[in-house]
Symmetry: C2
Subunit: 319 residues, 2 copies
Amino acid sequence: MSRILITGSRGVVGTFLTKMLTERGHSVFGIGKHHAVGEVGWEHPMAKTEFTYARCDVADFRQLERVFEKAGPFDFVYHTAAEFGRWNGEDYYEQVWLTNAVGTKNIIRLQEKLKFKLIHFSSSEVYGDYQDVMKEYVMDFVEIKQMNDYAMSKWVNEMQIKNSTIQHGTETVVVRLFNTYGPGEWYHPYRSVNAKFCYHALHGLPVTVYKGHFRTSTYLEDTCRTLCNIVDNFKPGEAYNIGGTEYHDIEALANVIWKYTGADQKLITYQDSEILTTKSKKLDVSKAIADLDHKLTVSLEEGVKRTIDWMKDYYKLNK
Amino acid sequence: MSRILITGSRGVVGTFLTKMLTERGHSVFGIGKHHAVGEVGWEHPMAKTEFTYARCDVADFRQLERVFEKAGPFDFVYHTAAEFGRWNGEDYYEQVWLTNAVGTKNIIRLQEKLKFKLIHFSSSEVYGDYQDVMKEYVMDFVEIKQMNDYAMSKWVNEMQIKNSTIQHGTETVVVRLFNTYGPGEWYHPYRSVNAKFCYHALHGLPVTVYKGHFRTSTYLEDTCRTLCNIVDNFKPGEAYNIGGTEYHDIEALANVIWKYTGADQKLITYQDSEILTTKSKKLDVSKAIADLDHKLTVSLEEGVKRTIDWMKDYYKLNK
């Protein structure tokens, strides 16, 4: 059993990951940007129970170092904390560069000293508009220009990690997540397409469907099971695509959601391709299957239904 | 005659550029991070003379927007302001991401609104460890991984600019400077090799010469003349290498400096190649010659002598 730190432990993936790793018997400590129930009070502990969470902004080195000093040491760090999403990155680029570039460098600097094993959360966005099947190694051969600040920050992180490994021998596994969705993904306008469409359908809000944009979708539980497996077969220096294999366009996704919710078809506007966005994301997940026992157990249709059911409950839409 | 804003106008290149563009009859306004003589007092002007400088951190959007509102409009912006140097970037990565990534994005956002022409200062570091002759277009064909955060931030800037041009039609010229040196470059430990070696030789401080590292050097005046020419032949979307053509190793540079200063040979230690540093920088400057009348008028030997003479004076080493 390992001692594990999860950054961004109250995010959508972080929350599920915390639950799953804890259930597997690991000792899990989480950090996040906000105050929360169960949080440790560093100077004035309010209770003597076992704390498993601390407020900490990864972009603030002092706060991060304190977590390692007072709640560590850790064998593994799952670094999920990040400013997420391409339009979020364009609208909130200040936060993106601070949290993603400075925050990850802070983690790497501590890793160089403390020698924990790092699992870094990257994104399918690093592949830019690469048109062929996205295999993990294509960046070693093909020049890719990232199409937005969020994507750039994620690619910067991968290079920061590579350089630290060369110079300091740090041990890191990179996971590139593809469109993960599922219960727990509460709504805001920068969420990925699945959550957005479910919420809009349930609330009678309009959506724009960009034609010719192909994606895969991965159900949160499937993603997290694979992520948990990393500690049992940690191969430093590897990068893994974590994604689905059902290749669908955005229209098909909308159809599933509109059918299950019974929402008004008039809410949907169809448009041609969106600017600076990867049109097609075809990916290869064979490496994750081989090394991490990556399994896809929930179909898009089933996953979307569960997400909608959860959302109805979460937003109290059941009468 | 144009109205020109220079960010980082009190830096080594910025200072010389301000002087040269002013001499050519342009109306030049400068900004920099620090208070200085000649600075405007926004709320309480202390005098009624013509101000040509304001304190402004480009990473702070409010301060930057105020410059454009109160001292603009500008036809051209020379964006020289940046955290500079690869080891500076490793030791002060917080500043690098704020100033370089957020600061440049702030400028781009204002450019999208105000439509000025931007001259963005990039670096030879974006070429990573590319081994062949560095032509401006190699990044369109070859996958390059930048070897330090400073280099990454500079490449991020070039991608931010490209994406803004695609999405908003902004007009920008990118200049990639190669090892510019000369009088005016006061010493700190993160300076480029020419200034560092001159200062160390003059002060009896040791240096390490990495063998097999080849560079070109460009005398500041030659660099700035070419930079000034951009406003007369502004070709949006172009990138230019601005560098020298004399290809010398670091040992040859040390020899010139040690000979002219008469410093002790024992100050020099020879070592094999430095980690995460481009070994050889061979570049092609034919595009800058064709479009910008790039001329190299000062030899390495002559330029180094002038730099040493200036340094002796600046640091009061003449008895």
